[in-house]
């Protein structure tokens, strides 16, 4: 289980980005979280990926209470959650070749010897040509870089996957390809997926269950199109 209870989180205590959000995800389940831009989706995704310590509330991962750590969640829990970010340009170290980008988590966790084989396997899985692996981020397109970032997220075989607007910058065919990669991986390993986005059509087709931001943030005034100019596009009728 990945469980977030009554999460309040943000970058400034007076104006938290997320207030009182609840969310739970069973292994093998996929949840699409919809919400207007600026509502706090990405912050919640960071909390779910154990990258951001909430100011209030509890995060439970596979029975371990994650909150209460002083600075960072322990490595074994962090690596249990794979993350893909919205902007591959920012999520890739500009100095690393794609090969090293994908292999980096293996090296960081002391599994250097497997690196070459795993990188080749994942490159094939995400559809990244072998010639691209020797290039650096500025020498490939956004779509190709996002494929590499997805490969990096899968390289440690995480039991959970958090995709924060993974496809927002991509064209339709790359989107379809990457969603298929994620779904294949889930079917193989039974991993749970939290997909955050603002495209209801995509998320409803992709995920078994979708939730709107208003449904997970209880006891708060709902975010409506009146309060948010962009809200009307993503609120379901």
């Amino acid at each position: 289980m990945l469980e977030l209870k009554d999460i309040t989180a943000g970058y400034d205590r007076r104006t938290p980005a997320v207030r009182g959000a609840h969310l739970s995800l069973r292994p093998g389940e996929s949840l699409g979280l919809l919400g207007p831009s600026g509502c706090g989706k990405s912050t919640l995704a960071r909390v779910a990926a154990l990258l951001h310590r909430p100011d209030r509330g509890t995060v439970t991962l596979d029975g371990h209470a994650v909150t209460g750590f002083s600075h960072r969640a322990p490595r074994s829990l962090r690596t249990a959650v794979g993350v893909v970010f919205q902007q591959p340009r920012l999520a890739a170290d500009p100095r690393l070749r794609l090969r090293d980008l994908v292999a980096e988590p293996l090296r960081a966790t002391g599994r250097r010897s497997e690196a070459a084989a795993r990188v080749a396997e994942l490159a094939q899985r995400v559809g990244l040509g072998a010639d691209l692996l020797a290039r650096r981020p500025h020498e490939v397109s956004d779509g190709q870089l996002q494929r590499a970032c997805l490969a990096r997220a899968l390289v440690l075989c995480p039991r959970w996957l958090v995709c924060d607007e993974m496809t927002a910058m991509l064209d339709a065919s790359t989107t379809a390809a990457l969603v298929a990669v994620v779904e294949d991986y889930r079917a193989e390993t039974g991993a749970g997926l939290l997909a955050v986005g603002h495209d209801p059509v995509l998320l409803e087709r992709w995920c078994g269950r979708t939730a709107h931001w208003n449904e997970i943030v209880k006891d708060r005034p709902p975010v409506t199109d009146r309060q948010h100019p962009y809200g009307g596009h993503v609120l379901r009728p």
């Binding site: 490595r75 970010f85 170290d93 988590p105 960081a108 966790t109």
Partner: protein
Amino acid sequence: MAEQVWRTRGGARRSTRTLRVRACAAVMAVVVLAVLVVPPLAQLDQQAVDLAAKLQPPSWAHPFGTDDVGRDLLLRCVHGLRVSLLVGLVAALVATVIGTAVGAAAGALGGWADRIAMRVVDTLSAIPHLLLGIFVVAVFRPGLWPVVASVAVTHWLSTARIVRAEVLSLRGRPYVDAAVSGGASRWRVAVRHLVPGILPQAGLAAVLMIPHAMWHESALSFLGLGLPAHQASLGNLVQGARGSLLAGHWWPTLFPGLLLIVPTLAIAGLAGAWRDRLNPRRRSELTL
């Protein structure tokens, strides 16, 4: 048509730039070669006094003239430049290492460590650094290494600030998040992602500090606090020639002064070109 105009203009601008960079590189090559080759190979005594030939203007025998006790100024200038460059290089290197370590630690650790380190930097910055440098020199016997130490311990502050700001900016990037999520320890994030990111900035700061450190050494020597008076350094040469300037002897001050200014400009030009390559959008003037 318009494209063609643009091309010629761009080409002209580019060639002026390359020309400037090449000129700077040539000057530095000559200076470094002279400093490395002349003193060990030419077994000439820079201290050789020839009172019969004192204060001679530049001539073929003495291209830079002679000083008030008849020592050849070209030879003394080369020896002085050697000392000044050595002080500049070593002091800039030490200062950059200290500054990078303090700045990177402050930026990477954050919290109390950051606050304490930065308040120390602020406090030291508030003291005029020439004064602080004089204090350091005064503690030791006069010599080369106290001068290096004095310049190094007073010049790491700006590097620490630059490096800290760079680390803070890098630390917030999503690729650091991705590395943390991939199981990287703090140490690994620092070594793999943060340090490679700050090295160009730190290197640039180091190069720009070389001329600054040379000037500092000269200032200390000029004030009589740096190297012993018999040891040639650009500062000592200018200091020793002050008196003869009033008597109309311009060459003993002009040449050491020029040798201080020309390499400074050349190093600044090269550093500027390097900075342009690092960040093409920031093609502004250099501040030394």
